[in-house]
């Protein structure tokens, strides 16, 4: 059955969940002026990676990338599947820890961290346990409820904007080597891998994903530019989560709630839970196909448990950012190697079939 819209929606909302927290701060820290250049550059890399990946997946037909790598022999599968698994685990640890920290900073100041992390992991693994189809169904439901909320508050956040803060438009190219900029690729490399895992279960038209990616561009741009236009670069760079603070300055008198930030954050957090469950499920698929003797249910218990324990051992925000930084090399490896290798191997498989 064709599920193009569902897959595109999931792709869209998981990325929305990723964008608004760390990304604006990273980009604002990476350069002083002309922020659109790093944003557009990162987006172009993402779009390129997706285009190549989609091309490979079309060639691959009805298989997922795990079985493709496994079919290419032990060396190849070790070279690709091991980094992918490690990367998934890293994503889980970083996003669970970051999110729970954000939650305590922003609204649940008296709730202990472990309780928040436990709740995140529990719900996500429960959804993952139910399988990819129920992930998609949940995604559709959450999307229908929360996307309008996000769009509304996103458009309301233009309230205090002073467009003259856009200048100067042209900046230096020094951001390319800035660690913050490299970290910002978290949003570009984190969410697209699952598209290669869904094939045997859910078929979709690959072109839709590219449209979904294009629809994300305004969110990438304005998640960075709204804090800059509201506060100016010099002020915005003093915040940990510039977009959240920029949203705090919005006052809409006819809304009975004083702080609308809460609504946006809760919607985003529900997206992040969905994202986590997808990552958990994908990690489970990799392990399960590599070692068929292990039961999926046990894997899905072991991975969150491992993530939970690692999260408990990260004491403060500084260590999270360090963790975040460790993943950078792996992130670029994933971002470049996986789409290219998929395209290459899928082509070879196809040729072999034609040859037979």
């Amino acid at each position: 059955m064709d599920k193009s819209w569902q897959v595109t929606l999931i792709y869209f909302i998981t990325h929305l969940g990723l964008i608004f927290f760390m990304y604006p701060g990273d980009i604002i820290a990476s350069t002083e002026d002309g922020h659109w250049i790093p944003i557009v550059l990162g987006f172009a890399v993402h779009l390129g990676a997706i285009a190549v990946y989609m091309k490979g997946l079309v060639r691959l037909g009805n298989r997922d990338i795990v079985s493709m790598y496994l079919g290419m022999g032990k060396g190849v599968s070790l070279l690709f599947l091991l980094p992918i698994t490690v990367y998934f685990l890293l994503i889980c640890v970083v996003s669970v820890r970051c999110l729970s920290e954000i939650m305590t900073v922003v609204f649940l100041s008296s709730t202990p961290l472990w309780a928040i992390m436990f709740l995140f992991l529990f719900i996500s693994s429960y959804i993952a346990f139910k399988g990819i189809r129920s992930i998609f169904r949940t995604g559709l439901l959450i999307g229908c409820i929360n996307v309008p909320v996000i769009l509304f508050f996103f458009s309301a956040s233009f309230q205090n904007v002073d467009w003259r803060y856009v200048y100067p438009l042209i900046g230096k190219s020094s951001f390319l080597t800035n660690p913050s900029y490299l970290e910002s690729f978290f949003v570009f490399a984190g969410g697209f891998l699952f598209l290669g895992f869904t094939q045997p279960y859910v078929a979709y038209r690959k072109r839709h994903i590219v449209f979904g990616a294009l629809a994300l561009l305004p969110f990438f741009v304005f998640s960075v530019y709204i804090p800059i236009l509201t506060f100016g670069q010099a002020t915005a760079s003093t915040f940990n989560f510039p977009f959240v603070v920029a949203l705090d300055t919005i006052s809409i008198t006819w809304i009975m709630f004083d702080r609308i930030t809460l609504f946006l954050l809760l919607s985003l957090i529900s997206f992040m839970m969905l994202y986590l469950s997808i990552v958990l499920w994908s990690a489970m698929r990799v392990v399960n196909q590599s070692f068929p003797s292990l039961k999926p249910a046990y894997i899905l218990l072991a991975i969150p448990l491992f993530v939970f324990i690692v999260c408990l051992y990260i004491p403060d925000w500084k260590d999270i950012t360090e963790f975040y930084w460790w993943g950078t090399y792996l992130r670029f490896y994933i971002l470049v190697a996986v789409p290219l290798s998929t395209c290459f191997f899928a082509g070879r498989i196809r040729k072999r079939k034609v040859g037979l």
Binding site: E32, F107, T111, A115, L119, D162, L169, G232, D248, T249
Partner: protein, 357 residues
Amino acid sequence: MKRTLKRGAGLSAVVGLLCALCGCWDNRDIDHRSLPVVMGVALHDDLYEVVLQIPETSQKGIDIRIISQTGKTINQAVDKISERMETSVDLLHLKLILVETEYAREGLTDSISSFMRARDISPKTIIAICDEKLDPFFDYVASSMTPKGTTLYDCFEKNAGWNPQMSLTRIWEVYRSIHSYTRDVAIPIIKSGRSGTIDYLGSALIKNGKMVDRISPEETLLFNSFNGQSAQGKIEVMDHASVLILRSSVRHRSKFAHGTPHLDVRITLKVSIVETKGSVTSKLVKKEVEEILAKRFDGMLHKVQTQESDILGLGQYFRKDIPRAQLRNWRTEYLPKLKVDFKINTIIQNDGNTKLT
């Protein structure tokens, strides 16, 4: 059997999740919290004095409770108040922060930064300066203003007691002024009046979070209309007539040549005539409005330039001309040199119900 067991386990997990629904930890109910609406802050000999105005419901209606305490930090003072009360103090719904003039002159950087850092105080909280000691001021508020949940805050609420001559500044704007290269703010100054009113004295010029000078209410009106806050409803008193400003719009054009910034400002005012003295022609009214406003603007600009406090956000217009490295010195290097060409165009939209002779 196994299936039923599995189902039972799943079901109990789902039911167990219901406990998480309340989402609160160490939760305090609303009747055990005190939610101050106004906070006063002063600094004397390195000790912060914090005054909280807490509305409390009683059988007669609402009472205002004023509590003050000193501490090494604002938080310590608030905690001391919280200790001494039977409920816990929660700054979540703070609407107005009043700062004593002396403290504003010394610089608000520390406290504004900590307000921004702490999540419990909203960045939208309005800030004002109190031109007398806090204790007598709050005593006056408690004794002679009508007790209401939002007493004092209503003076600044845009759809309640706010006037276009008042500046309206929020915490995040002051924070922006501390860090931004090209943007400062004006903070309203108030004082206790007579018979239950609050006197509004004008606005303070803030430079990097420090009060450097003050401007009159009339100048603040101009400041508001310059910044695009509608100056609607204000009655402009002159020798011969008073007019009601219906609408104001501003156009700016900036030019940057040989290191000197030039700015063309055109304000278009649409007014309606309210009151006249003797026989007045519309031409005369027009001329007088233009003259008076031009004079006021020059006065304000002079203060802005000598104090190097860019409350009008004039630097914003030159962001595209001055590179970032030099923009840092906007206030000291370029602002005093700025040439402004200020023109006002008045349109008398109507004369009210009667004809002008």
